[in-house]
Symmetry: C2
């Protein structure tokens, strides 16, 4: 592999400076560049200010091999990128015939007439190379300035995403990047980042430095990444992967972008088992997580949001005496909710949750964050009481994910309970 | 008001460069600064590289009145901000007694022993001024370098948020900022950004330049902002607010951060009306949006996720013959779903949705994105058929929000249907 090119980013847009838009594009670009073993070393964000943009573009180009510019390709007068690059490269602007025909086709497909504002998007620095835009009206373009390859890309995330593979290919060619960083991503639930890291350090002090271990925390999942940059290190990574499997394999939901609901649906489909849920404190979030996955209807006939005690009785057949003596947040209630959900849905396996999402409604015995879960089939129902004293929506998210995780473990035949149960268990 | 200070931002963290973390802190800072009428003019993001940080901090400080540094205050060796500022200011590091006592108290409260790593967080540039951290272990600090006020803040969003009011107060004092930008934010549903803008331009060509109109698009809501910087312009803004009310008042959900579910719950509570929902394609998202709002239980006894035809029949009493002759995605089905939801929940008002979320399941007559909605009470049920041919989860989000919006209009006594119905209507 040739010398690693130095990559910088320049983002432009008043909405990025005012805080109206959170910049997710630079993370997207960085994650794609990681596939080539590249990390941007500097990123500058500016508003739509022509002078400031020109000065910055010139400085960045003189200090890098690659400059990716994002934003400012649209049809309005605030969209300055082409003019600024033409100024910095001292090339002038000219109408680019291929960009015009792209615009014409784009408008035609949508039954629109090409207007003057749109046509401005074909006025590009003279001598630039186009970057096709498979999904939008604004083409990208690139040009070499002071020895730096400047690539100009659209700010609309979907258009940027569609353009990135083309850009990666050009970088690969230009810099002779033959080896590709090979990243294995594992999705987990129930592990904290620091706990996971400590477990690895304690159990594998001899972890090979060729295999880079990193984490990306999200709620509710934690992503674990294993990267190698040389093909010959793949067997080493396999070994590390095996280590992770034995350390916390029961917490691993799947590879890539697998979401916990997806894993549950796939396992259920494979075993021909149908699912239902009876929700109090999560208020529909378990059902929503399941049905966000295409094909959920194969295994999920439906679920019940029984927020009031009256509905717990009338829809799920929870006994008035149980609610009276044990309360809605109790082991007895969630067990009856499971059995009611199985009866009312005809499903094979169900989960029920009842808890105190807060901010109100807590007591000394059952503080905000307390939740009872029950799950099982017509033969065997299990229960647990946990406590997540966090903000309401995060509580609902974690509880809904935990409800899906107990289903996942049951479907996968994992008897072990998740390690977070030990930290969160109330009783 | 004195001259407006020039503000720049410097963010640091390898996780920001690798794409593992999306930077939401700079938007948070920018939105708070907007309250003082300030907009950052430039933002630079770097990894944890001491040399690069020192060079950048020095350059930025020489070109601004205020430099806000975010990140790098933690206890690990990657946390370089204090050392870098000490280098740039040529001040050296020293242990700051007030920072030590903050750390001691912080540890004591949590039953922890102050270790060497934590104690490093008290080693700060000599002569700096502390910025208290009400919620975390790392104090912030500020110092004047080359005439520029450099403020160093923690990367943990909750800690940054807690520190920002203190920082704003210091900026107000230092720069004699007496007037505060006064922003009125309106939340709307059913308006597109460009449509809204065009309506204002067409109807109010004499819009006063003292009242800045801006938009912040989110799914499903569009935020409209009206800002003035001088107290004497408030009456002008009142006039603009009135104009917006008559232009699209029925689309306005509320002020500030009001979410559509919140507006629905408040309206229902005021009128003593209870709500339910019967969901097919949204799969629990309507119920989840409602129950994410604290106090939802006052008006929402529960809802039904009837994904399969069998559950539509057994739980909601939809006729087999209706499903047979009209299909699950039909006006007749959603009408029967509403009446079943009213019966099964005992609520006063219900909404039902049935549609094709995709990617599969579409047909020529009912393409992916088609959805029937019905809503009403025991006296009067209304219906509409819309089409949103977008990605599955976005479809569910827009349909769930539309379902809440028809409830909002019904509860508020708005007879007019949303303008987006005209664009999306199928029949």
């Amino acid at each position: 592999m040739a010398e690693v090119p130095r990559v910088q980013l320049l983002l432009t847009g008043d909405e990025l400076m005012s805080g109206d838009t959170v910049d997710s594009n630079s993370a997207l670009i960085a994650r794609e560049l990681a596939g080539l073993g590249l990390t941007p070393c500097r990123r500058v964000t500016l508003g739509d200010d022509r002078q400031a943009l020109a000065r910055e573009m010139s400085t960045l180009a003189s200090d890098a091999n690659v400059l990716i510019v994002n934003g400012g390709l649209g049809p309005t007068i605030d969209d300055l990128t082409a003019a600024v690059l033409a100024e910095v490269a001292d090339s002038g602007l000219e109408e680019h015939p291929d960009a015009v025909s792209h615009l014409e086709q784009w408008c035609e497909k949508r039954g629109l007439v090409l207007n003057a504002a749109n046509r401005k998007q074909a006025m590009l620095p003279a001598g630039c190379t186009l970057i096709p835009n498979p999904v939008g009206s604004a083409v990208g373009f690139s040009m070499v300035v002071s020895g730096c390859l400047v690539l100009c890309t659209p700010g609309v995330p979907g258009e940027l995403r569609a353009m990135l593979p083309i850009i990666l290919e050009r970088l690969r060619e230009r810099f002779g990047i033959t080896l590709q960083k090979d990243i294995l991503r594992l999705q987990t639930f129930g592990l904290g980042e620091s706990t996971a890291q400590q477990l690895v350090v304690d159990n594998h002090p001899d972890w090979p430095e060729e295999v880079v271990l990193s984490f990306r925390a999200g709620a509710p999942q934690l992503e674990i990444k294993l990267s190698v940059t040389r093909a010959e290190d793949r067997p080493l990574r396999e070994q590390c992967h095996d280590w992770l499997q034995s350390l916390f394999g029961d917490h691993i939901i799947g590879e890539g972008d697998t979401r916990i609901a997806e894993a549950v649906i796939n396992l259920a489909r494979e075993s021909g088992i149908t699912l239902s849920c009876a929700e109090s404190c999560t208020g529909g979030m378990i059902a929503s997580m399941l049905t966000q996955i295409a094909g959920a209807s194969d295994v999920f006939p439906g679920g019940f949001v029984t927020y009031s005690n009256a509905l717990k009785q009338s829809v799920l057949g929870v006994q008035a005496s149980t609610l009276e003596s044990e309360g809605a947040v109790s082991e007895a209630t969630v067990k009856e909710m499971v059995s009611g959900a199985l009866d009312a849905s005809g499903a094979d396996l169900a989960v029920a949750v009842s808890g105190i999402a807060g901010p109100g409604g807590g007591s000394a015995e059952k503080p905000v964050g307390t939740v009872w879960l029950a799950w099982g089939d017509r033969q065997r129902v299990e229960t647990v009481c946990l406590c997540w004293p966090v903000e309401r929506v995060l509580f609902q998210t974690m509880v809904a994910a935990a409800a899906l995780d107990v289903l996942r473990r049951r479907l996968a035949g994992i008897d072990k309970q998740s390690s977070y149960f030990d930290q969160r268990r109330m009783r």
